[in-house]
């Protein structure tokens, strides 16, 4: 878009000030069109990361000919010097160079932790080393507001969490890092990747917590409550995404749009999985750890999402209500027992059908090709899945296809009649 507007300015169609004003609506600037600094920044950051990895491997070689105190003091000195250089550059106004040095300093700091562990054969709870590394980098997020350092910190925290999980420990303070990432995304307003990473990390942690509770607080045991729990978070975030999409700030509006898009993708993936009757059959064998409270969470979160999305119109709150009702009743049915998995699978397939229709409708109404083609894709994939994986026998599958065709015909005719009405009214 920045390139397009720059062309208009060059051709004399609009004034530069007008160009900037137009782009400001979308959170862009004219200089974005010729901005090559991002490429420079990324390549330099990757080069530093590679140097850091080389340093870790050099240390891993274990130079036992060099006295251990010399090795340790050498690396401590390097860490201190690199960090102080970063600090000096930041204070003298060379922010980018300062960030690079502090980024490298953070890697050196972690390498020193690992070196000390290696020299003194520390085998006790190895993930602690990665945790101290992540915690040491964490304050730099607040001080420097650097995305690069934040990604390093979030990456380290995720490695720490995965290593903890592997040895059956619960990474209790993992959300601290994710919240720091979300906070920076909110303050800077220019990193949707950071926002999505932070939110994904939080959802991942909530699932871990539920599995940890399922394993009686000493091991991970997947429980069915995780699915309604994740759906409840998804519904609440959908409400938040509509709230953001109404925000006056174009950057926050963009956050809302992208969050909404990813939530739709996640929701569709879930519906595709649930569209198989075998999945519902598996669920029906499980028992909720939190009883009736589990499906109720969906209602509470659905109501919150409804109020958050209501001012955006029926296109917003309609799907929220439909999904809340569908998921609540389905998971309540599982809780009450005597589940007919065939019926649940049929309703899920109809939900996919309605979602596809809604996406096509939104795609045309908002002139958003992404929604339109996603909607077409949903309908085609649903048809393909049901053709290969019949619900019931051949006749049952055929009936489902006929019902789907009738709904699609009906929607198409309704659409056509609405269009004609509008045209007549305009004439």
């Amino acid at each position: 878009m920045a390139r397009e507007v720059s062309d208009w300015v060059r051709e004399g169609l609009i004034e530069p000030a007008q160009g900037e004003a137009i782009l400001a609506q979308y959170g862009a600037k004219m200089e974005d069109a010729t901005d090559s600094s991002l490429g420079y920044f990324m390549l330099t950051a990757l080069a530093i990361l590679f140097v850091g990895l080389a340093l870790i491997l050099i240390v891993s070689h274990n130079w036992d000919e060099i006295p251990r105190l010399t090795r340790m003091l050498g690396l401590v000195f390097i860490t201190l010097a690199v960090n102080l250089q970063g600090m000096r550059l930041m204070l003298t106004g060379s922010d980018k160079a300062g960030i690079f040095w502090l980024f490298f300093g953070s890697i050196c700091y972690g390498t020193t932790i690992m070196l000390i562990a290696q020299i003194y054969h520390i085998g006790e709870h190895f993930p602690d080393g990665i945790l101290y590394w992540s915690l040491g980098v964490l304050p730099l997020i607040f001080i420097t507001r650097s995305r690069l350092i934040t990604f390093l910190c979030l990456g380290l925290a995720t490695i720490w969490a995965l290593v903890e999980i592997e040895i059956e420990f619960f990474p209790s303070i993992y959300p601290l890092f994710m919240i720091a990432g979300i906070w920076l995304a909110w303050v800077r307003k220019d990193s949707v990747l950071l926002l999505l990473s932070g939110l994904a990390g939080l959802i991942f942690w909530v699932n871990l917590l539920l599995a940890w509770i399922g394993g009686e607080w000493y091991t991970f045991e997947a429980i069915i409550d995780q699915i309604p729990g994740t759906i409840a978070i998804g519904l609440f975030l959908t409400g938040c995404s509509w709230l953001l999409m109404r925000h006056a700030d174009s950057q926050l509006k963009r956050y809302g749009q992208i969050l909404h898009l990813w939530l739709i993708r996640g929701g569709l993936l879930l519906l595709f999985v649930l569209s198989f009757s075998d999945v519902w059959q598996e669920f029906s064998k499980e028992e909720y750890l939190f009883g009736l409270f589990t499906p109720l969470v969906i209602v509470v979160s659905g109501i919150a999402a409804f109020f958050l999305s209501k001012p955006s119109g029926s296109n917003a709150y309609g799907p929220v209500l439909l999904n809340t009702l569908f998921f609540f009743l389905s998971f309540l049915w599982i809780d009450l027992g005597n589940v007919n998995e065939m019926w649940l699978a049929i309703i899920t397939n109809l939900m996919l059908l309605f979602t596809g229709l809604w996406l096509i409708h939104r795609g045309i109404e908002d002139s958003t090709t992404q929604f339109f083609y996603t909607g077409v894709g949903v309908l085609l994939i649903t048809a393909l899945l049901r053709y290969f994986d019949l619900i019931g026998d051949y006749i049952g599958g055929a009936i489902l296809f006929i019902v789907a065709a009738l709904i699609l015909f009906g929607a198409a005719r309704y659409w056509q009649s609405q269009k004609l009405k509008k045209e007549r009214a305009n004439a």
């Binding site: 240390v59 274990n62 036992d64 340790m72 600090m87 003194y120 085998g123 101290y132 040491g136 730099l140």
Partner: protein, 179 residues
């Protein structure tokens, strides 16, 4: 308060200087603490010798090491009347037999007397398996492979124990070849 928070941005040089100074100092403190907690048992602990059974893996960040398994790593359920879950801390009382230390009891609370080592339960079946933080002996790759071969002929580890049960691995002693 809100106003103060608003001024805490990288544009504020005073905030930047103080913030970075505190962070770098904190990082240095972590490194010093890690160093001291590693050498403390070696400086002030009592040496004991344990029998080992090794293998040779590679750590993600710390290079190659000889993974040591001790005879006291597996504790028979007959040695305790308490129940343990994975992840719980346990204290193993040790007794010297022919120059080597062997386990005589396992309990949740620190024993009031005797020599004991602090560990964490990893497995509970069929017997309790504990880790004491002395299971990794880091070495250059070639040496680690050589040591692995040497220790197959029998090896012992010199361990230093603090009075609170914290252990530190000092060296390996091989019956045949170099360790």
């Amino acid at each position: 308060m809100r106003e103060i928070f608003k001024t805490w941005t990288p544009a504020n040089k005073r905030f930047l200087a103080i913030g970075l100074a505190i962070t770098i100092s904190a990082q240095m403190m972590v490194l010093v603490t890690e160093y001291l907690s590693s050498v403390w048992p070696l400086w002030f602990g009592n040496p004991i010798t344990l029998e080992t059974k090794p293998v040779d893996p590679r750590s993600l960040f710390r290079g190659n090491y000889v993974l040591l398994n001790y005879t006291i790593s597996d504790i028979s359920k007959n040695l305790t009347h308490e129940d343990f879950k994975p992840g719980e801390v346990g204290y193993v009382t040790l007794k010297e037999e022919d120059g080597l230390f062997v386990a005589t009891a396992l309990q949740h609370e620190k024993p009031e007397t005797g020599i004991y080592i602090r560990g964490r339960v990893k497995k509970v079946k069929p017997d309790y398996r504990l880790k004491y933080g002395i299971e990794a002996y880091f070495m250059p790759k070639e040496k680690a492979l050589q040591t692995e071969r040497s220790v197959r002929g029998g090896a012992q580890a010199e361990i230093f124990l603090l009075s609170n049960g914290k252990a530190a691995l000092s060296k390996l002693i091989c019956a045949k070849g170099d360790c």
